[in-house]
Symmetry: D2
Subunit: 303 residues, 4 copies
């Protein structure tokens, strides 16, 4: 099958490779000409025979929106756009509506698997019309892991359902990572366990907590047993925030997913304004010692 692929970053680059290995003909476009197969979006579209399938894999927000708009001008009725990036699910409706005016179909596809997807395949959650999903199935089949289709692919619902499912996937992911991380810290803090990496490795088969994330943590500890090469500074890429917002919108209690998100926020603060306020209060009522801000943030003396 022939398809266009816009965006050849960490994810898109690997996906092109996996699609080609499966025998598909991929015309990739990226602003970085070193990796791009086409000179421009128009050039890419021009090289595809109608009816076309174009997969978008660029950063969410403005870049994705702009790509959708440009494709709307370039594509023809009967073509399909698949938004495979990390768009907020609420943006899919607008994208679909814009393309529908041109007769172009739209699917949103949440993609999970990270850099390992090239070899393992990607978990896929798709939203949109069943007929379009059917037409694009060879592409999904190439990207998803080997095995039964329904263990790596779901048609989750109408437009937006794919990214909603991916958003929740990421919210869960935050919670899972934080759970392992808290347990790791506790093992490391207590003297009783002498070999923390060995314990985590022993959990990788047979136990209730075995998972792919655990395997990765074991990998990381294999390379750096006390994680001395890293700082405890963690970004978040949006889906975790949207998950909490969706939970609030639906009155769903989300104590674990929100705790994981807030821990990331806190990890990025040089100093916490909230905890300054708590320190100020303790000082006010109890004359408790506070740490004064010193000439450098790390050198406060205890008073």
């Amino acid at each position: 099958m022939q398809l266009g692929l816009v965006g050849l970053g960490k994810m898109g680059f690997n996906m092109r490779e996996r699609l080609r290995r499966a025998g598909h003909e991929v015309v990739g476009f990226d602003r970085n000409q070193e990796v791009s197969d086409a000179e421009s979006l128009a050039d890419m579209v021009g090289r595809l025979a109608a009816p076309r399938i174009v997969w978008i894999m660029v950063p969410h927000g403005a870049p994705t929106r702009q790509t959708v708009e440009e494709l709307g001008d370039l594509l023809e009725p009967g073509d399909i756009v698949i938004e495979g990036g990390n768009s907020r699910w609420t943006e899919d409706q607008a994208n679909a509506a814009l393309l529908a005016e041109k007769g172009v179909g739209y699917l949103d596809c949440g993609v999970s698997g990270g850099v390992w997807g090239l070899e393992n395949g990607y978990g896929l959650m798709v939203g949109g019309d069943a007929e379009l999903v059917e037409r694009a199935m060879p592409v999904f089949d190439a990207l998803r892991p080997e095995g039964p289709r329904d263990e790596g692919f779901a048609h989750a619902g109408e437009v937006g359902a794919g990214h909603f499912a991916k958003m929740v996937h990421n919210g869960i992911e935050y919670g899972l990572m934080q759970a392992y991380a808290e347990g790791y810290e506790l093992l490391a803090a207590a003297d009783v366990v002498k070999d923390v990496p060995a314990v985590l490795k022993a959990w990788t088969r047979g136990t209730v907590v075995r998972s792919w994330l655990l395997d990765l943590l074991v990998n990381a500890l294999g390379e750096d047993p006390e994680l001395t090469q890293l700082r405890g500074y963690v970004e978040d890429s949006g889906e975790g925030r949207w998950t909490i917002e969706a939970a609030i919108a639906h009155a769903v209690p989300a104590p674990v997913m929100s705790a994981a998100l807030f821990s990331r926020f806190a990890s990025r603060q040089e100093d916490s304004p909230a905890m300054k306020a708590v320190a100020a209060l303790r000082n006010q009522f109890g004359g408790h010692a506070v740490h004064k801000a010193g000439p450098t943030s790390g050198a406060g003396e205890v008073k």
Copy 2:
């Protein structure tokens, strides 16, 4: 190898079977004579040739303590007791000291895997002297999953380290389960995703959140797609509580593991005294409507 096994409940029964399949000679004892191989603890010990290995698999607390004490009277110097139940790690030192007086060795072994361990093998975390661990290794090798030893077994440290590691394992497990559960609830609450079980099944290969617990959740949804046969009432068996206590003792922040534990507590309350107090406050300052307790707890009318 020959060994005694005290306690043939859900876990012990399966472990005896797995050990026998591996060619070990197991003399099991249980108060339930229908499953027991021996008439009494003394009978069991009598059937084993010294130096003996006896594995304890009875409920933690008093039953385990009593079994240790009785074995202390029955065993001989050079024998080994392996406490494989869910003892609190702080109790292992006392057990070991008691048996040391008799010259009997002591290992604590955290065991994970549930009812699936019979087929899959059990993840094992062991505490105690290396020499004793070495002697009991054939038993551990039979119980752990196939594959490299270090992927299903760890010698975590001195006495207590095995149960400490298992305790943290369970604290993590609580967090993992709650993360999936919150995500499941959000998927089910939003209209956009039409087939929630299909989405979770699609996560089982290739995605970042794939895990054995996810596989189990997919199983459960396969049997009962909306979980209508269950109530949201969840027990806890101690390790989650001990994990938070250990986190507090070591000043380790544990927001996710504690949120999971508290969600279980809340799930078991018919009505929440705390939320009554919040309702009372809202009513006091704002004249906000409250739900009055009615003739039955489920039939309060809104005022």
Copy 3:
């Protein structure tokens, strides 16, 4: 001073009374003619001499927006609208812009104090131009508590700042209420404290936790010492949700305010889908007993 007051519900009714006691001439309008001074919004406006001040005190969202639009048609350049309801702060800009087209000024005012404000006065947080604030100051002075102006009134910033401050106030309020509520539940759960209401009453003077909310909780316990007349079912009115959304937007960790919000969500669930999922998982891996849903939700049997 003369002013119009739209909305004579629990809050507006009392505010009219407090303003009148301070000597202001209030023309109130409410759709409920039994409490209304004017027959219509137009009638109300007609009875006020320009330049007018009109205070809006209707439910947030559509009712407030509609009132702003209607006032835009009725008022004249130089008049001032004060939105004193619980609008989301992001809506104030749109309101202000609409009225600015007509030359009508706009202030947003967060109001705290509940039904007690009639006697105690209301805490006020105002957003908008300083010149407009100055003109409306006699109204604010009448509504705020006696004492220094800056202890019950703040000009917080430009349009939206008043409602933003009120929103955060309510987020804090959720956290404070939940903190007292958890402490109350713990006191009640432990046998050691024999007279819980007496302990809370003893906290009302001298202690670090003394507050108005504590006084109200003591009141409530004075009327119903075990809160047997209430159900632990707590609504939320929006500001708590917006507070968490704002915290997420600014990457501010908000574990306490969010925990309080989620506790309210959970209090309103007959049964928790998330905890069903956790129960299903425990049952899957451990054969743990679950509570089956029975013929009525309250009568599940333990298996």
Copy 4:
């Protein structure tokens, strides 16, 4: 009335003064002879006429226990010891039992109010026999705030009840402080509110969130409007930990009180091992940029 007072630190020193102002004769003892009235504990006891009342106000744990033991040797049947420090309530029973052997009575008294208690009086929660409470009432009346006795004093139950109530008081206090702190941080993070200290000051009268802690936060911001002189580093003194442990023991959900405690733990970490683990995981699956630990902890470069 005559009484001995052991421990003249920040709290004890002020309490001696408040008792003297009320006309009581206080013989204070402290190892610091500059503030002590007596040369030794024995000297202090010797100066008191039987039946004596001795108030202990030394650090909890070993110092308190040792003082109780020494007083057990010095006092006579009919005397009373009041433990007014921050003992864990579970220690009171042992203290009481030890003194009971000597015929000496024991009361535990939780004291709240901090350095402001000298002027405002202290909130008091007492555990022990009613007859002993009655005998010591003049002391309690002098220490508690003016006003009705039951608004600053409670006889909470038998031995231990006073410290249990104080422990919960402190758990609540943690939650209250954190709620204000989170709100403060959010106000400060958003641009819309121009004068954060003014907003908090405006909350001190009339609002739902008014409290003594809020007054103190306003004080602190009056001295340092952006809290630039402080670091967000907050100690905890034990009661918060015990509160969570008690909540766990009674299966009481405590999401807010625990979140406040964990925020303190996190505030004291130079770097978070848990967040290192999360960073390691993101790096493993997504090739996400991590912050490498650099030559100094504050100077990691982004890769």
